[in-house]
């Protein structure tokens, strides 16, 4: 098609919209989308898509289009297939395996009977036709960032353009001054979604006001927080929304070059981004003289290589520069001296994905969503002990109860909710008493956690809080770059204390020592990683102090996680003398003759739990 001018882009969008309109109404054709994000593919969605295509070809069905889409966020029910037949409710099917495909095609496409056993959700198309209907695809959610995820084919720029793609860029290039763009952003109240929540408009303004011959825009897609994958899904499902925002940022602050820093662990996201960048270049939406406006901007990909600290902006800059990703003291902030010493805007994927919508719908519209200080929505990766794990986007101010029980379907296996963890290794745990607290930046800070990038991990009564704190500390100890002593030494020492507690070797004064170390780390560490590394310890201490005391004073772990504290015993009433435990024991700690009660020797027992798992009669007791 070649490079586009403004007129050609508008004409193309009109033509694409007409085509889609025709496809979905007058032509009465059937639209099928299969979610092909990393999760979906891992669950076998590639095979499902293939089987669908074949079954439709075999039956010679006309007017059926099958396309790949990004992640719909329903990770618990992958592979996901969405079928829209004109005149019928839109049906989302979950867990569709190739073996189910024939039935699906026969019943739903030919006989027009949805296959009830596979239906995840069914909604009449017209029932949700409010002005913001396109954001309200799923109950209790409001999808701005994920507006196109699971709907468009991420490998086709045309599908993005048809859904208002690059409309905001048009406005910014031809109708708005950089000041007006900043004004809208300011009005919107958008704050950085990478964790710290700094107002985006201010960040851009700083960089804009620094005179320099070269400025840079960097997109931080180094999503290293374990248990978080919002950015991966956004990039896999809707890469152009982020590219468009980067060009807008470039135009606004006066940068001509952008870098995309993305984890090497996300191969599919990288491939889709590469495709998106080359398509945008071919259309003239990247490169010289964008849409004939005279403005030039291009984007290069840079791969991360597995270092959590590179999420910190000065460390990220060092990594993009090809060096070890070690942070440096701030100020100067990257907004003034960033990449290669030039003023640099660094925004996270989710922050950027909001921007085209803000500019199209207006900052005023955006600021009506959310709470007084936290505007818009937040994407969460809802995982852990929850029935419907997946990706959700809710207005700021939604409560944990709504997220966990209404959207997430409650706790797995009917167990009791114990805590939710947000902010990953920099965050904290939220106990049940705050289930009804509206979630925004300020409230989370008050209760000792942080918004973080959006990992939300649900824990039940079988999870031990000492173990959870130990898990996060082990992570930050591994990931500390070693540059400053408070983080390097403090983290290690704290981790050693936690190991001592879990092993039943701690003494009462240890908790005070730990609190001191936590404080020193918070105050004296060089970067955010060290300053926040103690949060998981402090917040578990704050809400689950009893559990720590139990470990220390009584040498007990109620959740049954800290192996050294467990005692195994065989119940003589239940034991039938089958010998299964004896054979399973790796250290010969179990003795007993066939058909007679077996006995565990506590001195030899290494508390591995193999006997517990091997016994079919529930005779091995753990306390």
């Amino acid at each position: 098609m070649g490079k586009l001018t403004l007129e050609k882009l508008r004409a193309l969008r009109e033509a694409l919209r007409r085509e889609i309109h025709q496809r979905t109404t007058s032509d009465r054709s059937i639209q099928i989308a299969v979610g092909l994000g990393t999760c979906g593919i891992a669950a076998g969605a590639g095979n499902t898509l293939h089987a669908l295509t074949e079954a439709i070809a075999a039956r010679k069905l006309g007017n059926v289009s099958v396309r790949q889409a990004g992640c719909m966020g329903l990770c618990h029910s992958e592979p996901i297939v969405e079928i829209a037949v004109p005149g019928m409710p839109r049906v989302i099917y979950g867990g569709v395996q190739p073996a189910d495909v024939d039935e699906l095609v026969r019943e739903h496409l030919v006989k027009r009977n949805p296959v009830a056993r596979l239906v995840y959700e069914s909604r009449p198309e017209s029932a949700d036709a409010g002005p913001d209907a396109s954001f309200e695809r799923f109950p209790n959610q409001f999808r701005i960032v994920l507006r196109n995820c699971g709907i468009i084919d991420p490998d086709k720029i045309d599908e993005y353009i048809a859904r208002d793609g690059y409309c905001a860029l048009e406005k910014v290039l031809f109708e708005m001054t950089p000041e007006q763009v900043l004004g809208e952003l300011e009005k919107s109240g958008l704050r950085g979604r990478g964790g710290a929540g700094f107002p985006t408009a201010r960040k851009w303004l700083f960089t804009k006001n620094v005179p320099a011959d070269q400025k840079y825009i960097v997109c931080n897609a180094d999503e290293g927080d374990p248990g978080a994958y919002m950015d991966r899904s956004t990039l896999e499902g809707d890469p152009h929304s982020v590219l468009e925002a980067m060009v807008i940022a470039g135009r606004t602050v006066g940068a001509t070059k952008g870098f995309f820093y993305i984890r090497a662990e996300y191969p599919l996201a990288i491939t889709r981004l590469e495709t998106a960048i080359s398509q945008a270049r071919a259309y003239g939406l990247l490169g010289a003289d964008i849409l004939g406006s005279g403005f030039a901007f291009d984007i290069e990909l840079r791969l991360g290589a597995g270092a959590f600290v590179c999420g910190e902006e000065t460390a990220l800059i060092a990594s993009v520069e090809g060096k070890r990703g070690m942070p440096r003291p701030r100020p100067p902030f990257p907004a003034a001296r960033g990449l290669w010493g030039k003023p640099t805007v660094i925004n996270n994927v989710e922050t950027l994905a909001n921007i085209p919508v803000i500019l199209l719908k207006g900052g005023e519209w955006f600021s009506r969503i959310g709470t007084a200080t936290s505007k818009g929505t937040k994407v969460f990766a809802l995982t852990g002990k929850i029935n419907r794990s997946g990706l959700i986007e809710v207005p700021m101010g939604a409560t944990l109860r709504k997220i966990i029980f209404d959207i997430g379907g409650g706790i797995r296996a009917g167990r009791a909710f114990k805590a939710a963890q947000t902010g990953g290794p920099s965050g904290g745990v939220i106990p049940p008493e705050f289930l009804d607290t509206p979630i925004d930046y300020e409230n989370l800070g008050k209760i000792g956690s942080i918004m973080g990038s959006g990992g939300l991990i649900v824990m039940d009564d079988s999870d031990c809080m000492v173990d959870v704190a130990k898990f996060y500390l082990e992570f930050t100890v591994d990931e500390s770059c070693g540059k400053c002593a408070p983080c390097r030494i403090g983290g290690r020492t704290l981790f050693n204390y936690l190991k001592k507690i879990a092993a039943g070797k701690a003494v009462p004064g240890d908790l005070d020592q730990m609190r001191d170390i936590c404080q020193a780390m918070q105050r004296a560490s060089l970067c955010g990683l060290g300053q926040t590394a103690a949060n998981p310890v402090l917040s578990t201490l704050r809400y689950f102090a009893d559990e720590y005391h139990e470990h220390i004073a009584e040498h007990k772990c109620h959740a049954g996680k800290c192996q050294s504290l467990l005692q195994y015993r065989i119940d003589p009433v239940k034991c039938v003398g089958c010998g299964a435990c004896l054979r399973a024991c790796p250290v010969n700690a179990i003795a007993g003759e066939r058909k007679k009660t077996h006995v565990i020797d506590p001195a030899k027992c290494i508390r591995c739990g193999q006997c517990f798992a091997a016994c079919k009669f529930g005779a091995v007791a753990r306390a």
Partner: protein, 163 residues
């Protein structure tokens, strides 16, 4: 370690890599991108190749070593023919990722971050593969196995052994 793509003798930069380096040499901050490409080709960063890269990019070898050892992703040792990664991100950890690690150790007869003596498997734990919805998760040569149970492991590993 017999069946690998590596030619006999010390590994050397391939023509494709030479072309890549020529293309990237002039761009600032190219070292990490070059190392990625080297690892893609060899499965790790061979010492001999690091010498060549140092020469071509005009970067001290010490700096290259510093970068390789800073990032978890880069390897100095040649991995096994099949690479197993068990995820120990938070979601996988809570849903029994450690049990998977122990079970794989038992199956392979080697511990974490080791290579089996026959060079068939290398085995490491990683932090979050971003498939938390499918926890616990493991990948073998990039293929993701989700909602794993320890009982499935013998059959999965056997598939890779036979080849």
């Amino acid at each position: 370690m017999s069946t690998t793509t590596e030619p006999t003798g010390a590994p050397k930069l391939t023509d494709e890599l030479l072309a890549f380096i020529a293309e990237w040499k002039s761009r600032p901050g190219s070292l990490i991108m070059v190392l990625h490409r080297v690892q893609q080709t060899f499965g790790y960063i061979p010492r001999a190749v690091a010498f060549e890269v140092a020469e071509l990019l005009d970067v001290p070898l010490a700096k290259i070593y510093g970068v390789i050892t800073f990032y978890n992703f880069f390897k100095l040792k040649k991995p096994g023919r099949n690479q197993i990664q068990v995820c120990l991100g938070t979601a996988c950890y809570l849903r029994g990722g450690e049990d998977i690690v122990h079970a794989v150790e038992k199956q392979l007869g080697v511990g974490l971050n080791a290579i089996t003596p026959d060079g068939e498997f290398s085995f490491e734990a990683v932090r979050c593969l971003g498939c938390c919805g499918l926890a616990p998760v493991m990948t073998i040569n990039g293929k993701v196995y989700g909602k794993l149970e320890t009982g499935q492991l013998p059959a999965i590993l056997a598939k890779y052994r036979q080849v």
